[in-house]
């Protein structure tokens, strides 16, 4: 897989998994995840061309276009505050 294909695959995979967690909006969760864990060039790559993205992943990209720092949807994207103790990493 080249980088572009890999990134599209990753976005679709994230979207698909969030899609099974019915208590959260899959597109919003996918956007939140990409915002918090992807390097700018990875984001720019999928922003540049929506080809191959699933509908949920494409919706997530659209959300990110509107707001590069969307609201957090899971505890995995809620990190410790500067002086906060006891939470942990999200890989």
């Amino acid at each position: 897989m080249n980088q572009r294909d890999h990134l599209v695959y990753m976005a679709n995979q994230i979207a698909r998994n969030f899609g099974t967690m019915a208590d959260m909006g899959a597109a919003a969760a996918t956007a939140d995840h990409i915002a918090m864990f992807w390097d700018p060039r990875m984001k720019a790559n999928v922003f540049a061309d929506a080809a191959g993205l699933s509908p949920v992943a494409a919706a997530a990209v659209e959300l990110l276009r509107g707001d590069p720092h969307p609201p957090h949807q899971t505890q995995a994207t809620q990190f410790n505050a500067g002086d906060e103790v006891g939470h942990s990493d999200a890989g």
């Binding site: 103790v85 942990s88 890989g91």
Partner: protein, 947 residues
């Protein structure tokens, strides 16, 4: 400090709450009920002579040396088997006892070589000490009679010898193997005079036996019968330093016993809180790599990877590396470079590497090998519990009633903890194993799993959801716990999901291949069997749904109330010694130490104020993304400390393409590893024996690593990183790792109470350690989850996209073996290769027969990613349709086979599921041949400089 043997109180400590007062040799003492007279006396400083007793083993009462007199009792009872009683009056030294002991000792010595002066244990021998203690001055029986003095030595084990001529048949070795290690490899063969220690095999030697070479028998032996080769070769130690093992995530504490600057032996430290005095073959014996001839001690550079290496000074190496980093950043942008921290290095070194990337490279392109092992643990546990680390300390397992192991092979991967676990299982705890392979712990001496669920690789989520289905639909959930500790609405939603008929064990059987009735019984046992503890490893995380599986595990634990007290919990068994620490130290590209996201301005401000530089607010690249970007042309330089990504990361061809596309690869390691084949700068590393620092083990325990010898390369790893940082224009002037820890504590709230001084005082600290918990936190989530309520997450099973089919009909899963560690860079350079000289492919007899393969045949193993050759081991340990291999040997390069598929949330590679085909082979693959040639050429060092 001089050499002192570890204190031995003769019998184990009692943990009884009640105490008893008695009088020993005229002194009144109070001890816990259940304490033996021997131990009570020893704690007073009255060491009763003994031979068969040692405080790591249950009392035995065979040597008859520890006799005492007790008022009101007839005869002379053995103090090791006599528990204290209220008001008891004991005499440990009387003329009558003296005579008795001397007579007993005389009999022992009458069949023991009198070669003390040339014996390797001279001066470090309990028999010798006790002969002196009882005043034995002559042996009246002579040596003409029948004896054992000519018994042949067993020299089969590469690390220790067995000399039966010196054996006193005390059974300490047998009991250590049984009680401490749990292997039951040794036995007493024969009776009376014919009694002898036997390994119980046809060859009757240790190497061919069930012995796992943990060293427990050697440590227990009171004579020189079981003796380390290094003691024979070097002599007895004259000083010792307590430090922490650098192998797996158990984090065993050892005494490095030294003679001058030479390491004589590594002896597990009885006071070590992770290992409680036990060890495995790696930590105990496999440290010879530290002095291996292939270790590189001088910095080297080269213009291109086709050239031979050229040795240079440290200054030249640093200057060259720094100029290359700056050149590349000027040409391709500041985000075109990055680095990888090492989970084998100390917290302090790891912290410095990520600081170098953020403050020196001025980006967040830093990642760590946790990416390829336990990153889904971070994501899954953070989502559900609010914090990612394991919930328990290792001691907790002794309070467990049901132990559920999923995707872990602790007897191979975490052997010292596995021994503790096996001890609890022998006491009666029930065992559930969920694993495609029949791992050793499924059935071992005196242990048999109540349930082994041999699932099809890739179906963890389906199995766990099916277990949840049983728990919910049969009313086995602990609703009181859930209402108190979790979000009830989320639970109700999750319960509704798992209760759907499509999630029943029967409905999912076609996917999981697990017998539904067995799965139901396993779920019932976990839910209702008392304290239920889940232990898991990379068989959980290294899947496309690794994070979902971790969340499914957390769901199960919360639903059954198995969180927040001793004996329960969710316990990731970390692979490398400092995986937890590397994560804590800010090794991930999106977060600073203490798990604060780089986009948080307030968090960044703390570091910016301390470091005097602005920190990039955007996440950096993860390892696989770095390699993708390198192939794509936007990532050009990499600093890799203590990590061999070419051998350890998936899809080797892709990794090699990424590395080959870079213009500067800086490898900082002990050896010219496989990644170094693509490197332009080589910075020699130091071993854990050569530096100070800390490791954090799987139970969040921060432990000291202490320098026991001078670095052979001249610099500890933290000094090398500092040299590179200063060449890049940073002004670092740490003079000792304790100063780095002070900075970590200053900037990381969960480490606020940690310092070298505190660690020296306490021995170790389990984070979080702060004002609220100054001595650390052994068990987490006792009164509530970190972030309020525990969260249930729906984990629907999504099959991996790695599919079997006509071309690739089998599923390959990979793992490690006891004698080797990760890519084997260390253990392959020790005598551990005796046990595992090559990677083998395990295959079920039916699959082997279909392919005309027999045990030992060379096979061609191919996937969509690549192909290799290795020999087959035919075994029903794996199910039909599943094959298994290890990845310890670069000649095999198992990761040529594995693919780019990864966990959806974290990019942790899906090592555990690869569709493959296996056929007979008559030679190495093209890749192996070309790689071997490239590797050989790449390791050349210019002759004139090397001389």
């Amino acid at each position: 400090m001089g050499y002192e043997p570890q204190a031995d109180f003769g019998t184990p400590a009692s943990d009884a709450a009640d105490s008893i007062t008695l009088t020993i040799d005229g002194r009144e003492t109070t001890v816990p009920a259940g304490t033996t007279v021997m131990r009570a006396a020893a704690e007073l400083g009255n060491n009763i002579p003994k031979l068969c007793a040692t405080d790591s083993l249950k009392q035995f009462g065979s040597c008859r040396l520890c006799l005492v007199e007790i008022d009101g009792r007839r005869g002379t009872p053995a103090s090791c088997t006599t528990p204290v009683e209220p008001g008891m009056v004991v005499r440990t030294q009387t003329p009558a006892l003296h005579k008795l002991r001397k007579g007993v000792m005389e009999l022992y010595i009458s069949d023991h070589p009198l070669d003390c002066l040339t014996c390797p244990a001279n001066g470090d021998c309990e028999l010798q000490d006790q002969a002196g203690a009882v005043g034995l001055r002559e042996v009246r029986y002579g040596y003409e009679g029948e004896n054992h003095l000519d018994s042949a030595k067993d020299l089969s084990n590469p690390y220790f010898d067995f000399d039966p001529s010196k054996c006193i048949a005390c059974s300490r070795c047998i009991r250590a193997c049984d009680e401490v290690q749990g292997s039951f490899a040794l036995t007493m063969d024969g009776r009376g005079f014919e009694s002898k220690i036997s390994a119980g095999t046809a060859a009757d030697d240790f190497l061919s036996s069930e012995c796992v070479s943990c060293g427990a028998c050697v440590q227990a032996c009171p004579t020189s019968t079981l003796q380390e080769r290094k003691v024979v070769e070097i002599g007895t130690p004259d000083r010792s330093v307590v430090t922490t093992c650098a192998y797996c995530g158990v984090g065993c504490t050892f005494r490095a016993e030294m003679r001058g600057e030479q390491l004589v032996r590594m002896v597990p430290w009885k006071d070590g809180k992770a290992n409680r005095g036990h060890s495995c073959v790696k930590g105990r014996f496999a440290w010879g790599y530290a002095n291996h001839q292939e270790r590189i001690l001088n910095p080297m550079i080269r213009e291109s990877i086709d050239q031979p290496w050229r040795e240079v000074s440290w200054d030249e190496a640093f200057a060259h590396a720094a100029s290359e980093i700056r050149r590349i950043q000027a040409k391709y942008g500041k985000e075109s470079v990055g680095g990888i921290t090492s989970s084998r290095c100390t917290n302090e070194e790891t912290f410095l590497v990520q600081k170098l990337i953020r403050a020196g490279f001025r980006n967040n392109n830093v990642d760590t090998c946790a990416r390829v092992c336990h990153s889904p643990t971070g994501y899954g546990l953070k989502t559900t519990f609010g914090t990612s680390a394991g919930t328990q300390d290792f001691d907790s397992v002794m309070q467990s009633d049901v132990i559920l192991i999923i995707g872990a092979n602790p007897t191979d991967g975490h052997p010292v903890f596995a021994s503790r676990m096996k001890r609890r299982l022998r006491q009666g705890a029930k065992l559930i194993v969920i694993d495609p392979r029949r791992t050793d712990i499924v059935r071992s001496p005196h242990i048999e799993a109540a349930h082994h669920l041999p699932l099809r690789p890739g179906t963890n989520v389906a199995v766990l959801t099916a277990m949840a289905h049983v728990i919910v639909t049969e009313g086995l959930a602990d609703e009181a716990f859930v209402r108190d500790r979790c979000d009830w609405d989320e639970y109700a939603h999750w319960a509704e999901f798992v209760a759907q008929s499509r999630n029943s064990p029967e409905a999912l059987e076609p996917v999981t291949t697990v017998d539904p009735a067995d799965l139901r019984d396993a779920a019932r046992l976990y839910a209702t069997g008392g304290n239920g503890a889940i232990y898991y490893g990379l068989g959980v995380t290294e899947h496309s749904q690794g994070s979902s599986t971790v969340m499914a595990i957390a769901n199960l634990a919360m639903a059954t109330g198995n969180v927040g007290r001793e004996g329960v919990g969710v316990n990731p068994l970390r692979g490398q010694n400092n995986v937890q620490g590397a994560c804590d130290m800010g090794s991930f590209p999106h977060e600073l130490s203490g798990y604060r996201h780089v986009s948080d301005a307030a968090a960044r401000a703390l570091f910016e104020a301390d470091w005097g530089v602005a920190i990039d607010p955007e996440p950096g690249l993860r390892i696989p993304n770095m390699l993708d970007a390198a192939v794509e042309g936007t990532f050009k330089a990499l600093y890799v400390q203590g990590e061999d990504i070419l051998q350890s990361d998936p899809n080797t061809k892709h990794v090699s393409a990424g590395l080959a596309a870079m213009e500067c690869v800086i490898v900082h390691d002990l050896f010219l590893n496989e990644t170094a084949n693509y490197a332009h700068v080589f910075l020699p590393g130091s071993t854990f024996l050569e530096k100070d620092g800390t490791f954090t083990n799987a139970e969040r325990r921060i432990q000291p690593v202490r320098k026991v010898m001078t670095p052979l390369n001249g610099l500890a790893d933290w000094e090398v990183t500092q040299g590179l940082a200063n060449a890049l224009g940073l002004d670092w002037n740490y003079s000792h790792p304790s100063e780095i820890m002070d900075e970590i504590a200053r900037l990381t709230p969960s480490f606020a109470g940690v310092s070298f001084e505190r660690l020296d005082a306490l021995g170790s600290i389990q984070w979080p350690a702060n004002e609220a918990a100054p001595d650390g936190t052994p068990v987490m989530h006792i009164d509530g989850f970190v972030r309020g309520k525990g969260k249930f997450v729906v984990t629907d099973y999504i099959p991996t996209d790695e599919k079997t089919g006509p071309r690739f009909p089998l599923l390959l899963t990979t793992g490690r073996i006891l004698s080797h560690y990760n890519v084997g860079a260390q253990t392959r350079r020790t005598d551990n290769v005796v046990w595992h000289p090559e990677d083998l492919l395990e295959m079920h007899p039916a699959d082997a027969e279909d392919r005309g393969l027999k045990d030992g045949d060379w096979t061609w193993l191919a996937s969509r990613a690549g192909e290799t050759t290795l020999r087959v081991q035919v075994t029903d340990r794996v199910a039909p349709g599943v094959v298994y291999t290890t990845f310890h040997h670069p000649a095999t390069q198992a990761n040529v086979i594995t693919t780019d598929y990864s966990d959806w949330a974290t990019n942790c590679p899906e090592y555990k599921v690869t569709a493959v085909q296996v056929t007979a082979s008559n030679g190495p693959s093209d890749w192996q041949e070309s790689y071997d040639e490239r590797s050989r050429r790449s390791r050349r060092i210019e002759a004139e400089a090397a001389e």
